[in-house]
Symmetry: C2
Subunit: 349 residues, 2 copies
């Protein structure tokens, strides 16, 4: 999955760049872009892992995504750290969880996450179903247990009915795994089509000269080696600091990234390339969440990953281009959650 | 505002109660009820304090209600403790705020709160505008300052535009007070018409025999002395434990209620009668939030306020009736909040 060779090949033979002037230049750039990127589709995937995603699963998953009773405290829901109102993330350096503990890494956006090859910064979850089981149990996040979650959900008749509808034919559908499957089903709907860049890809002249120049730089300087495809990233793993290690504030020595997952020396400080869709909405940046400005993040990537000291103009152009990746989030009506019963476990703080 | 005399008059002359059998009994009960209660209207109030509530104010208020950047930590919003998905409250004993500190009292529901005579358990805020300024500044809640909030909102161009639209003609509309006015405007929309009880009031036969009997008990036993009107409460102040003080778990000695507001000895342990709309969705109960079952809350009220040791059947009937007060919450589309800028103050944890 390493793509160092791909990355290196992109670092070779960079030409002096001319500004994007004419319509023909824009069209040529569009054709290049079409070979590297795909738009976010207008409609969500209809299946995951070969299984159909049903409306009943999505609706149940929406309840669960917003339900703070999945946490031990009854005050933290999926939406607490992956808020659909703020770019699908929490916009703080690293998340605050149970007991006001700080998590180790910046909360990744839930939007378009269904298009990533794997989940978490280190890709340790194969898919969104597996991912959804993590934070519920993590002691610094929701600090709950599968047994307690199942007891909670089984104590609420409307949830029992909703699980039956979502997973018909199962003898005991109220399970921790089905909770995760339903959340995943809801998350498949969290896609953001209609970005200005996607309209450009489709043939519209939605990008101005600065943004077009940013796109050209993004391609020609080699950013695209890691950030391509539908999600502008999220597809493969790369060492952070391949050319030059950033400071310990941005790349803390104690977080060895994917090494923790694979226990392979070459995976030290390796992370999944961040998907850049809606990146303008998901500051602060990097797994450490220590960089607040998009321009600074671009400059750090240039020097640490590509060996380019991008000048301010280039950084500004690339950042302007990245701002065209913000799409249209779906309308999400806040779910009215079914009330607890006498059998529902009480919150613990 | 004390209504002890009113309360006392209701305690006198309670007759032995017969069950509600026939249609004519139900109609007689409906007529009695019509004199005591009013339905939640189908549409929100169009003005507050004689000022029109505009669509632009409501929309801005919705952003603000869901925006965690009103808190110092950037993780707590109005909706954290007054969640529109869980009865307009947080369903834990007392709220958890900045630094995981516990607040002193149970979070009251935001639904139908526009119909209360004043806000907070002790009525210390005259209206929702005044109320909205409290939790933002309380150190155990959002722990922010008016200056910091204004700086935050003024740093985000879309907010500046939204304030201009909401408060046209004002030279500097981005103020802490206008923040509160906008939140109040949004909160006027948080009403829940269509409860089964309201349909009964309107002439439909939506209540079963158990619920009708509960309504009769609610009236005849004297509950109605404090819990009447549109909101079944929220209109006047009463001592908790007028007949018999509940235990210190339910009525902690250190929280003297309205005494803190008025500094008047007769206001010791006086609280605003809780509005009972949607009470089935807002456990746990009382200002201490120490009672989880609606039946237990009813029994405590019977003994502490009315001097009645209600039997299990009566308690069950009253609770069944109270469950008919759950109405239809409005569809609230989760707002997509405008992103921060370089000038936005950073979160502090």
């Amino acid at each position: 999955m390493h793509a160092l060779t791909r990355l290196a090949s992109c670092l070779i033979g960079l030409a002096v760049l001319a500004p994007v002037h004419a319509a023909s230049d824009a069209n040529a750039l569009r054709n290049t872009a079409k070979g590297l990127f795909q738009p976010i589709p207008d409609t969500p995937p209809t299946e995951v892992r070969g299984l159909a995603v049903t409306e009943d699963q999505k609706e149940l998953g929406k309840w669960l995504f917003f339900d703070p009773r999945l946490s031990r405290s009854h005050i933290l829901s999926c939406n607490s750290c992956h808020s659909v109102g703020t770019g699908g993330a929490d916009n703080i350096p690293t998340s605050i969880g149970h007991g006001w503990q700080r998590g180790p890494r910046n909360s990744p956006t839930v939007y378009n996450s269904v298009f990533n090859i794997a989940q978490f910064w280190d890709g340790r979850a194969a898919d969104l179903k597996e991912q959804a089981m993590g934070p519920v149990q993590a002691s610094v996040e929701m600090n709950n247990t599968p047994a307690q979650v199942e007891k909670t959900l089984a104590s609420i008749p409307q949830y029992v009915d909703a699980f039956k509808r979502a997973f018909p034919g199962e003898k005991n559908p109220v399970t921790f795994e089905n909770m995760a499957r339903a959340i995943e089903a809801f998350e498949t709907t969290l896609i953001t089509p209609g970005a200005r860049f996607d309209k450009f890809l489709a043939g519209e002249n939605t990008l101005d000269a600065e943004e077009l120049q940013g796109l050209r730089l993004f391609v020609d300087k080699g950013c695209v080696a890691c950030h391509s495809g539908k999600n502008f990233g999220g597809q493969a793993y790369f060492p952070f600091g391949v050319i030059k290690k950033p400071g310990a504030d941005v790349l803390p020595a104690e977080d060895k990234g994917r090494f923790t997952v694979t226990n392979t020396a070459t995976d030290e400080y390796v992370f999944r390339a961040a998907p850049l869709r809606n990146v303008a909405l998901t500051a602060p940046y990097f797994h450490s969440g220590e960089v607040w400005e998009l321009e600074q993040a671009v400059a750090i990537m240039g020097s640490s990953q590509l060996g380019h000291e991008l000048n301010d103009k280039e950084v500004g152009q690339i950042a302007s281009f990245l701002r065209t990746l913000s799409g249209n989030a779906p309308d999400i009506v806040y779910p009215i959650l079914p009330p607890s019963t006498a059998a529902t476990p009480k919150p613990q703080h």
